[in-house]
């Protein structure tokens, strides 16, 4: 469902009249503030940015995706999401910075310009808005969705154990009170189902990239099993190239490897689903830091984190652009 552009523009202009727009990318924002900035970007860069709603959360908050496109019909596309785990605040913050970066670099940066001339980019900055609001109002360490679990007083499902990839296998809990509770069945969470449906309906997604924190890792499938994916060599080489790009800016080192070998076996993860669905370039990033601040990354590290991560993403996007399959 595409929001009526005119209504959107009006709402945005009214908001502009009330406050001067100077969105501070170097601080953490409320959901409302992030959503307002999505409208601003779609307004200011309306030639290439539009806002789509791909569904609603459990508590009926809209799931907004920014589409970056220079036209064409049904072009091959990149999918990027952030904030599936709500306490990983640097990911939502980095995603909105990257949205601004992509929009403002088009026509200036040769790489992004050539990418958007051939492909579309879909960016979901807040995949789990209910959880994100809960981290602001009640519990900063909340990870899961906020769905009610039948027969339990415990709330929420780990949305990154809820995908249809080895669902029910090791590395996910069957206990609703657990922070890695997989849910009653795959895609039980509307936040997950909305992304799955969007990707399936689009039919031409060529890369699936997801942002998490923390640990400074760049991982490819699999998590649900410890065997190599068929494209192991290419994904590993591309991952290493991306990690070198990340390191080039501030010296931040990212470890590259499969989920299972690097951190742990975990079933029901998003990039395992996307890879087995046929999206070869499936990567999961764990951003800064390595544990000194963990989820509570100081705001003065948001922009450096976003900048370096963006270089890694760009390396992957360039490869996807240049290697159609």
């Amino acid at each position: 469902v595409v929001l009526d552009q005119e209504k959107q523009d009006m709402a945005y202009s009214q908001q502009r009249e009330r406050s001067s727009n100077s969105f501070n990318y170097g601080t953490y924002h409320s959901l409302d503030s992030i959503y307002a900035e999505l409208d601003h970007l779609a307004f200011e860069y309306s030639n290439i940015v539009s806002k789509l709603q791909i569904g609603q959360s459990y508590e009926k908050r809209p799931l907004y995706v920014l589409k970056f496109s220079t036209g064409g019909r049904h072009r091959p596309a990149i999918w990027i999401d952030a904030g599936i785990h709500s306490r990983e605040w640097v990911t939502q913050a980095s995603a909105i910075w990257m949205a601004k970066k992509i929009a403002s670099d088009y026509g200036k940066d040769p790489s992004i310009t050539s990418l958007l001339n051939k492909m579309d980019v879909f960016l979901l900055p807040v995949t789990n808005p209910d959880g994100y609001v809960f981290t602001h109002t009640t519990n900063r360490m909340w990870r899961k969705t906020r769905s009610k679990n039948q027969g339990s007083r415990c709330v929420g499902v780990d949305p990154n154990r809820n995908w249809d990839a080895g669902f029910g296998g090791p590395g996910a809990s069957s206990n609703p009170c657990s922070d890695s509770y997989r849910g009653p069945h795959a895609n039980s969470e509307v936040e997950v189902k909305s992304v799955v449906d969007f990707i399936k309906n689009h039919g031409n997604i060529r890369a699936f990239l997801t942002l998490h924190s923390y640990s400074q890792l760049l991982m490819y499938p699999y998590g649900y099993k410890c065997t190599e994916p068929a494209d192991q060599a290419e994904l590993d080489a591309l991952g290493r190239a991306a990690a070198r790009s990340i390191q080039s800016l501030y010296g931040t080192t990212f470890t590259v490897g499969s989920i299972c070998n690097t951190i742990y076996q975990a079933s029901g993860g998003s990039i395992d689903w996307s890879y087995d669905y046929g999206i070869k370039y499936s990567f999961a990033f764990e951003l800064r830091d390595t544990g000194n601040y963990g989820f509570l990354l100081p705001a003065n590290q948001i922009i450096p984190t976003a900048e370096e991560t963006w270089l890694g993403l760009k390396k992957i996007l360039e490869h996807v652009r240049d290697n159609p399959y």
Binding site: T27, R140, T262, I263, N292, G294, L296
Partner: protein, 222 residues
Amino acid sequence: AAMELPPSHQPATRAAALAVGYISYRRGSPGRGLGLRAVRHASGQDIDGVGRKYHLDLVLEDIPDKDSTVNCTAEVLYHLGNKNIAPDVQFTIEGELKNTDEADNIFYNRIKSLEKELVAENIPDSHGNVSPEMEPIHLLAWVASGYVIWQNSTENTKFQLAQIKHVKQVKRSDEYLEFDYMILLHEMVSQEIIPWQMTVLWHPQHGVQVTQDSRQPKHAAE
């Protein structure tokens, strides 16, 4: 025979996190926390009837002076069977750690001269802020949590201090400073956030001691 392990993958990273917790506890102070910068080399071997031993070459970084690093070798032995015995950790730090005597004494005197006992919460806050006055309280918790991490780690866990929910100074008649902390530990493998209470003693000449600690029920911190 010892097997080479990829240094930045598990299980090396789990053993390293445990080692750094222990090392930070033994060498840390309100003026110095030690964190893991990198694992340069790792190997592991099974010892029949005893357990699994890891040999690690580590680079440690000073928290919060991250540009200050030091090399370290460590051996971690996870005991077979009885999970109530903490892993054995031995380590050697190459070279000298930054001297923190001056900062430690300033902090010690500051707390000693407080009229009312110190009380604070949410360190760092939601945005990652730690005020300069609270930095020693933060580092003291980091150091003390190293003890809890050491005592409770297995090959299937990787703990980090996530946040101090609450800290309260306990007045003492002797020369020690005492703090009662409620901290949150993040356990990476299960992804759980675990509230943990710890009573911490410190004196500039006598180091950090955790005299009492207990795991709390999950809802305790919500």
